[in-house]
Symmetry: C2
DNA sequence: ACATAACCGTTGTACTATACAACTGAAGGG
DNA sequence: CCCTTCAGTTGTATAGTACAACGGTTATGT
C-alpha cells in the first residue's frame, strides 16, 4: 500500500477528530445545560475511580491543577462531589461523588447514551465495537493511565 | 442480551471521543502556539473551499455567527485571510486565504500530520483506513440536537 | 412599489475553560 | 532544623463561545 494512502488516512483522522472536537462542546451544552461538559467529565471520572485526587484528574486530562481546582470547587458548590481529608497525607483531598452527584451523573449519562444511540442507530454492533476499539487504541497511545512506559511522544516539557 | 455489548460500545465511543476533545485544544496549543486550534480549523476550511462565506463556516461548525465574525477578524488582522466583496450580494464577504495564510497553513498541517504519524506509527495502513472511515461515517451522520437548526445534510466531500 | 420578512455580518456583554505564576501548607530528607 | 518537593488555592490573563441588539441588503407578498 502506498504511503499516499497512509497519509490520506492520517489526514482524514486528523481532520475528522478535530471536527468532532469542534462540535463536542456545543452538542454537550445543548444536551445538558445543567452540567457543563468539563464538569461532567470530571464527575464521571471521580465516580469511576472513587476516591481520586485532584492531581490525578489534572494528570489524566492534561489540565492545569488550577483548572481542576476550580472545577472541583464548582462541583462541590453544586453539591455533586465532596472532599474528604486523607488521614495519611494532609495535603491531599480525596474526592467522592455525593448522592446527588451520582444521581445526576446517571441521568446525564443515560440521556447522553440515548443521543449516541440515536445517532448511531444505523451502525451494526460489529462496527460499533470496532470503532470503539480504534478510539480506545488511539487515546491509549500517549495517555497517562499507567505511568507512561516508553518514549511518550507528547510530554512537551516546557523549555 | 448483546444489547449490553452495543451499549458498552456506545459508552466507550462517547467517553473516548470526549476524552479526545478534552485534549485536542491543549495539544494543538502546545504544537502551534502561533495559530490557535480554532483559527487553524477555520483557515483550513477557507483554504479548502476557496471563496466561502462566514455563514458557511458557522453552519459547518455549529458556531454562532458572532464567533465566526471575530475569528475571521483575528485571521484578517494576522494577515492570513482577506475579505472580498461579493458583487452579486453586497451582504456577503467572500473569504480567501492570503499567500501568508496558505503558507502558514501548509506548514501547520505538515507538522500536525507529522505528530499524527508519530502517534500512529504502529498502526497498519488497514487500521488507519478503517479508523478514518469510521470517523467520516460518524461525523457524516446527521448532527443531532434539540435545535436541529437546518436540514444541513452535511455533504462533507473529501478532496 | 413598497412594506415586511429573511438574511449577512458586527458589536456589546457575559460566561466557561483554561494557563501561568505566586502563594500556603504539609511531608520528607539531609 | 533547613531545603526541597508535593497538593491545592488564588490572582490574573486569554481564548472561545453564546445571545441579543443592531445596521445594511436582498427577497417576497399583496
Amino acid at each position: 500500500m502506498s504511503d499516499g494512502a497512509r497519509e490520506t488516512s492520517l489526514d482524514t483522522i486528523q481532520r475528522e477528530l478535530t471536527a468532532f472536537a469542534r462540535r463536542a462542546r456545543a452538542a454537550a451544552a445543548r444536551l445538558h445545560p445543567e452540567l457543563p461538559l468539563v464538569s461532567y467529565t470530571l464527575l464521571a471520572h471521580i465516580d469511576d475511580r472513587q476516591g481520586c485526587r485532584a492531581t490525578d484528574l489534572a494528570a489524566h486530562y492534561l489540565l492545569d491543577k488550577s483548572t481542576v481546582s476550580r472545577q472541583i470547587a464548582a462541583l462541590e458548590k453544586m453539591g455533586l462531589v465532596e472532599r474528604r481529608p486523607d488521614p495519611d497525607d494532609h495535603r491531599v483531598q480525596v474526592l467522592h461523588p455525593t448522592d446527588a452527584g451520582t444521581r445526576l451523573l446517571a441521568s446525564t449519562q443515560a440521556s447522553r447514551l440515548a443521543a449516541y444511540e440515536e445517532r448511531l442507530k444505523d451502525w451494526s454492533a460489529e462496527d460499533l465495537a470496532a470503532f470503539a476499539g480504534y478510539l480506545l487504541r488511539y487515546n491509549a497511545t500517549g495517555d497517562t493511565g499507567p505511568p507512561a512506559p516508553i518514549g511518550e511522544s507528547w510530554p512537551k516539557p516546557r523549555p
